[in-house]
Amino acid sequence: MILRLLRLSLRYLVHHRLQCALLLLGIALGVAVVVAIDIANDSARRSLELTVESLGGAATHRIVAGPGGIEDAVYRHLRVDLGLTDCAPVLDDYVSCLTFHGRMMRLLGIDPFAEGPFRRYLAGKGGVTPVGDLTRLLTTPETVLLSADLAKRYHVRSGDFLNVQRGSRIVRLCVVGLLDAHDDLTRRALSGLLIADISTAQEVFSQPHRISSIDLVVHSRARCDQIRRELPPGLRVESVNRRASALEQLTDSFESNLQAVSLLTLVVGIFLVYNTVTFFVVQRRSLIGILRALGVTRQQIFSWIVLETLVLGVLGTTCGLLLGVLLGRAAVGLVTRTINDLYFVLTVTDTRISTQSLLKGTIVGLAASLLSALVPAWEATMVAPVGVLRRSTLEGRVQRAVPWLTLAGVGGTAAGWTLLLLPSRSMELAFGGLTLEFVGVALLVPLAVVVVMRPLAWLATRLFGIVGRIAARNVVRSLSRTAVAVAALMVAISVIIGIDVMVGSFRQTVVDWLGTVLAADVYVTTPSGTASRYDSFDVATVEALRRLPGVRSVDTARNVRMETRYGMLFVFAVTDNPSRTRRFLWTEGDVGKRLQQGAVIVSQPFAWRHPVRPGSVLELPTDHGVHSFPVVGVYYDYGTEAGIVTMLAPVYHRWWNDREVSSIALRLSHGVDPDVFAAMLRRRLGGRMAFEVMSNRGLRKSAIEVFDRTFAITSALRGLVTFVAVIGLLGTLMALQLERRREIGTLRAVGVTVRQLAAGIVLETGMLGFLAGLLALLPGWALAWALVFVVNPRSFGWTFAFLPHPWQFVSALLLATAAGVLAGVYPAWRFSRMRPAEALRVE
């Protein structure tokens, strides 16, 4: 029986191709966005793993030190005196490869003799065929190996030279061999690496006799403890897995936020599918009535509608998976770029389409289809045999349900806010609260439509006469349809308002923050900006800049990424006392004085992640062993959520053997134009040294560009949510107009012109859009508030000013109205073309 019914479905769907396409689009877009974000997140995570793996290989542990690195004598001691064979020295950091158009590459300095148990690709194992004379890597200075794929991409052959830039130096390296990887994993691991002998790396990084870490293969805790005991102060042994997971934790919040927005697209998609399935049922009410009269049971009707939707769900999901893969490829770039900007330089970037992502998309698509079909299928079972349920009776039921829906809506909203306001750090609670709030607000829409349409109907009648009156009344009359469409668009517009206000507030806060933090006129930094220990200026360079005419004073900052017991963080050592330029959440005593005495201040994201309170101490690994630094303040910082510990340069120098400088801030004499000075500096030093010279204005602009890049993917998702909602609205309107076919025929028969009819339809859809926009203002504001005060602090540890701008609300209202008008254009065009005789023939 069900199969026969499905055959009826096929004929019906062929006749209603547009509605069918809309339903497929609803599922497909929802699934596509979820899959795309999953692929992007998964790929970024995989890139992170590969980046870590490409450096560490099979190492289980690693001996690390502070920014000054490790004396290579330590390695000799371990190898020779302790007889530790499974250990290998590494000196690695970023270089900018000018030959590869400035691409950031990881230069990995290794000892080929010690590499056996570690990076198997260097031992000719692991599916790698060395091409060329690898022994030259050992015997000839300034030589490197790289992957055959990379060489092919940049048309480099063995024997060619590469120009790499390191801080202010440019070094020429000869390619002596290529590594041709046979398996995909190794190929990807190699794609961001330049491999050199450790002595070459020491030369490139200007770090004679120093290494950055020692890789170990240690399987017993006792052995690990023994090694630990042998190490000089300042050195420590850490697990490689812990390092990778610390990096992953950093990006977790960013990824979960993206997932939340992608799920929102799916929710809007479900609205769309629900609407379309409902329309399918409504339009076949008489058929269902006849079938019921002929003996088809309610259960069969229910199964029929659900199965029909599921079949379409399978089709939509398949399309969604394909689209998701395509979108995912585009999204990978955006996500990894953000991770590069904010967290960690991924030298390996690749798109990984996992079975898990596709499976997740399939489940999500089918579940959404099923969920969307349940209510319409139930509605279908309520159709009386032959005696076709009147539309007005159906709408009457909805009208009667309005008080209950309202009650449920109030309950949902209240429950949502309760969850949001609970004193907790749980992201799940925050997202759960937001979901409940949205569901609650959506349930309030029917009442809101009835209430708001009263004055709107009056206005529409005044402005457009009888056509306006009919258009306005249609909105209320078809409440069961219009309320769902308005709710879907309202959710989308709320998301737009919420994200716009949040991003706008955040942006303004960052702009203000940059204004206070960037007090100097011109900044000189190294080009890579990777905060690595070797990417720096020496003291002589600083002095040379100090002597330049027009320079009033010079401040320096040392920015070093450090692995600590708190995870990865940045230590920021400054000459200019930050107590004057920073805004503090809390302080203890005279911050300026305490900093001079050896205390530190920490950034807000760090304090959020770790329980730092007045009087806390931070244990940091210094070159003289672990030292406890008193914390005397927590300051607002929006540079990185990784967390920053700031101290004065003399304190840093006392604990770390590192006199290098990461950035130089120049204050200019009165009357010297910063932009002119920066241009002059670039001209004078450009040929000899690699500097990034930026005026205060230029640096602020550059920082804001990074900020905007970070939210690029959010904006893209926001656009997609709107698109899905507009498509949903279009579907609803098509459905509504098709249901009104005979009415439209009558109107045309009694003298309504084509233009009046089109105006009426567009007016109706415009009112729906306007209504959605109007109803979205408050939930949008509430969402923004929740994002600023609940989600962001819990995700990233940032708090920032809540700065809603009226224009954000006005533009959202205009956008909603425009979306409504746009969604009405096609039905208006279609029904205007329909001959009245044709429309009347429906009966």
Binding site: R473, R742, V754, L840
Partner: protein, 240 residues
């Protein structure tokens, strides 16, 4: 309820003649051309009630659609009064219909979002008449069809007979030259159908309108001034 006899002489005669010349209307199905109307020619005199009889699907409704300008013929000419309808464009036909034609449908076709009064006001408002004047006139017509008490009711709250009486009021309220009724009793029981028929005929006569009624019911024939039948696409006089 008023019957037609009570209303005679209420409104001055204003009906115009309707002339059909060699009207042909066809449709295509499976590559073959089927004739709905074949070279149909006839003149419906002004101010008279004409009944067109024919089986379902014989082309009666098509004929009325051509007279109202809702549809256009493949060949031939429709003249209403001094207006050649077939020479007009879509917009002009719509405006002509709005001002000079009143239509009564089998399924009443009231606008469900408008109440009874607003439904009757609709053609007048479309014609640009002021609200107050349109309301007064609609109330007047509602009292003529004995529905003054129900002016605030929505169409789905009315019985079939009541809905059709509203439809008749709507068709006449804007003072058209020609009233077209397509199976006006087709969806009503016999008794209500007869009442509606009496009312429609009486109002049309009283106002001097040209009434052309398509029906398959023979009960209408004795009340008409002229009777035609549609058979095999041809229009033939049964009584004139």
């Amino acid at each position: 309820m008023n019957t037609g006899n009570d209303l005679v002489g209420v409104v001055a005669a204003s009906g115009v003649a309707v002339q059909l010349d060699r009207l042909t209307k066809t449709y295509e199905e499976g590559g073959a051309r089927h004739f709905i109307l074949r070279q149909a020619s006839v003149r419906f005199e002004g101010g008279r009630c004409t009944v067109i009889l024919g089986r379902s699907g014989s082309g009666k409704s098509t004929l009325l659609n051509l007279v109202s300008g809702i549809d256009v013929p493949d060949e031939g000419r429709v003249t209403v009064g001094d207006t050649v309808l077939t020479g007009l464009g879509e917009q002009a036909r719509t405006l002509f219909r709005r001002d000079r034609i009143g239509i009564v449908f089998q399924f009443f076709n009231l606008i469900p979002t408008l109440n009874v009064l607003e439904n009757v006001m609709l053609p007048q408002e479309l014609a640009g008449m002021g609200s107050r004047q349109a309301r007064d006139r609609a109330r007047d017509w509602l009292s003529r069809v004995s529905l003054a008490e129900r002016e605030r009711a929505m169409p789905d709250r009315l019985s079939g007979g009541e809905q059709q009486r509203v439809a008749i009021a709507r068709a006449l309220a804007h003072d058209p030259d020609v009233i077209l009724a397509d199976e006006p009793t087709g969806n009503l029981d016999a008794q209500t159908g007869q009442q509606v028929l009496d009312l429609l005929m009486a109002l049309a006569r009283a106002s001097g309108k040209t009434l052309i009624m398509a029906t398959h019911s023979l009960e209408a024939a004795p009340l008409a001034d002229a009777v035609y039948t549609v058979r095999d696409g041809r229009l033939e006089p049964a009584r004139s």
